[in-house]
Amino acid sequence: MKDTSKIKMQLQCPLPKLDFEYITLGHGSGGLLTHKLLESGVFDLLSNEHLDKQDDGAFLTLKHEIAITTDSFVISPIFFPGGNIGELSVFGTVNDLAMCGADPKYLTLSFIIEEGLLFKEFWEVLVGIKWAADKANVKIVTGDTKVVDRGKADKIFINTTGIGEVHSNAKIDINRIKVGDKIICSGNIATHGMAIMSVREGLEFESTIESDTQELNHLTAALIKQYGSAIKFLRDPTRGGLGTILAEISKDTNVGIDVLHDSIPIDPLVFSACELLGLDPIYVANEGIFICIIDGQVAEAATEFLQKLAYSENAAIIGEIVEDHPNKTVLVSPIGGRRVINLPVGEQLPRIC
């Protein structure tokens, strides 16, 4: 998805002129070099009333019940078609809060940098963080930077912890899922995973697939505002993809799930790439979609509601909770073939031929 705000942000935040090119161990020592690194423009870039105080921690006041989550981002490569690790580290945590029915407010930001990372690359990641935080309407309120020896990290690892206020009419509870509820998928599956795959060393293939990494909090807020407690469960199927999440739900709640293969939205390019590499798209990672388990009575209306919003135009009902086969998620093929969706064994590995 082309977003001009990203390009604008990149233009507004040119690379600062510095007397160092690489990040070295000294930049994580807490001494002069650390100050030099942070004062290089990092604080200015992420500036807000909390961060500007440069205290050891941030003092925050919230009005409602809070949700808190944390996530670490260790992807390779750190730049990929459609995004970078910085954007991912903001959207990932924001989305986890959104899936709790919360309105994300504040993030912490922690870097573990491998010495030798180009400052230019670090800056690009930071600009991504700034852009994503603005877009998701969250503030980075405190952070940390460590630098480790070469080989002890892979360029840069980022951890973010997020706090959000739970929407007053949200009632997200996996135990409320019951027979007759429907499963909505908010958009095309497998896009992020295939975008990463297309640039991974050894697997490069020509494609125009771009990651779908994006904030989902505005979508879930709108959905919760409209449908409140009819929404039983929200989850963004990141690592392990749609299949893993559905298999987990059926196991955790002892319900049966039927998924109609042909109803799952997927971009034809992404589907082709999966076919070529021999990967099952239901197990491929996503970063910009969520699934919603919702009361069957309002499922169609909620799907149409989502289809009118940006980022969820391809929303579709993909399945339902059924009485048969408790504990199992079953994928139904167009000719009536049925197969159980299991938890995957480790990472999907490309096949031989």
């Binding site: 293939f205 034809p268 199992k328 167009p334 064994v345 480790g346 031989i352 031929c353």
Partner: protein, 366 residues
């Protein structure tokens, strides 16, 4: 996706199914040679939809499954050498060796790279002149051209740090071995479409004549498979035995002439050991004398003790079509994809993995 959707079309599938039902009058055993075909049959629920009279027997066409145990041990041994970057197709990584898999070796610190093309390994060799790059070159005739090309390319570039650990196997001798086995009763074959797209179809005429068995070169999509089954059943019901080509949109009679030339330039045919089956005469490729500097087997001269297969695992019987995965006492119990006893439970083309992932799972306690 063009060229795919039309071969998964449910109306067409139902028509083929109905036609098969009308045609079949007696029990027939048909072997689909390729593991990719097995997976497609199970994944799309075709085994449950075809008439009971038709017994699909799953063939040995799974490259990962037939790669000998001692060769996997060799790959693991090489990978653990700090000077070596071992490159492999992804599928090989989880296959259990006698002590560990390549994935476990990777966790121990081995530098193992998953590649799609062996030519990437040549590039690695160029970029890492201080390291030995070994490509684990397994597969049937389908992967042979690219593997051959990697050696020709490395030779042209004058690289001395590139080699392949080869375990190339050939389909027609394996089909003959299966037919020669008195315990296996097969009435007809769906030959592996992709293999034929490289090699053409000529090598199958002698098998048809010698064993009086119908062979239909078949593709991998549901429509292909049902069409292939129908063509085979028609021959069987009429008492005919012919070579037919269902997959004519891909497979030309002469195959891919350029690919065959590349194979012939780099490889020669020799006897080859198949995991679970044993040695089959003239059933594999090895690098020609001119290219022995690129043969990891010779270059590294690793002498590892021969090890025995797991006692309970019946992978050999599965590969020869004598037994089905669920007839194994370990299936779904002690043998699962996360704790495999044999290779067919690991590979994306293995029959056991296909059964485990896609069918008969009510019997599985997870």
């Amino acid at each position: 996706m063009k060229y795919l959707d039309e071969f998964r079309d449910s109306t067409l599938l139902k028509e083929y199914l109905a036609e098969i039902k009308c045609t079949v009058t007696r029990p027939w055993s048909i072997m689909e040679v390729c593991g990719g075909q097995t997976h497609s049959l199970v994944k799309h629920g075709i085994l449950r939809l075809i008439p009971d009279h038709i017994n699909m027997i799953h063939g040995p066409g799974c490259p990962v499954c037939v790669t000998p145990l001692h060769l996997i041990d060799k790959a693991v041994h090489l990978a653990l050498d700090k000077n070596v970057i071992l490159c492999s197709f992804g599928d090989m990584l989880r296959v259990p060796g006698s002590e560990k898999s390549l994935l476990e070796a990777k966790a121990e610190g081995a530098d193992i790279r998953i590649l799609y093309s062996p030519l990437e390994a040549v590039r690695l060799a160029e970029n890492h002149p201080d390291r030995e790059i070994v490509f684990f070159a397994v597969g049937f005739e389908t992967t042979a051209p690219a593997n051959a090309m990697s050696v020709l390319q490395a030779s042209k570039l004058g690289l001395t740090n590139f080699s392949i650990l080869t375990s190339h196997v050939l389909v027609p001798p394996a089909m003959e071995a299966v037919l020669d086995d008195p315990e296996t009763k097969i009435d007809g074959f769906l030959a592996a479409g992709h293999v034929c797209s490289i090699m053409g179809i000529d090598e199958y005429y002698p098998i048809v004549e010698k064993f009086k068995v119908p062979i239909v070169v078949t593709g991998f999509e549901p429509v292909d498979l049902l069409h292939g089954i129908l063509m085979t059943v028609r021959q069987l019901e009429r008492g005919e035995y012919k070579l037919e080509n269902q997959y004519s949109r891909i497979v030309k009679d002469e195959g891919n002439v350029n690919a065959k030339k590349v194979i012939n330039d780099a490889f020669e045919i020799l006897d080859r050991e198949w995991r679970g089956i044993g040695t089959i005469p003239a059933s594999g490729y090895e690098l020609r004398k001119d290219f022995q500097a690129f043969d990891a087997n010779k270059k590294f001269n690793i002498d590892l003790p021969k090890v025995r297969e797991h006692e309970i695992c019946i992978a050999g019987d599965i590969l020869k079509g004598k037994k089905k995965p669920h007839q194994c006492e370990a299936f779904g119990k002690t043998c699962k994809p996360e704790t495999p006893l044999g290779a067919p439970m690991v590979s994306s083309e293995g029959a056991c993995a296909a059964y485990y992932h896609y069918s008969n799972q009510d019997a599985i306690t997870t």
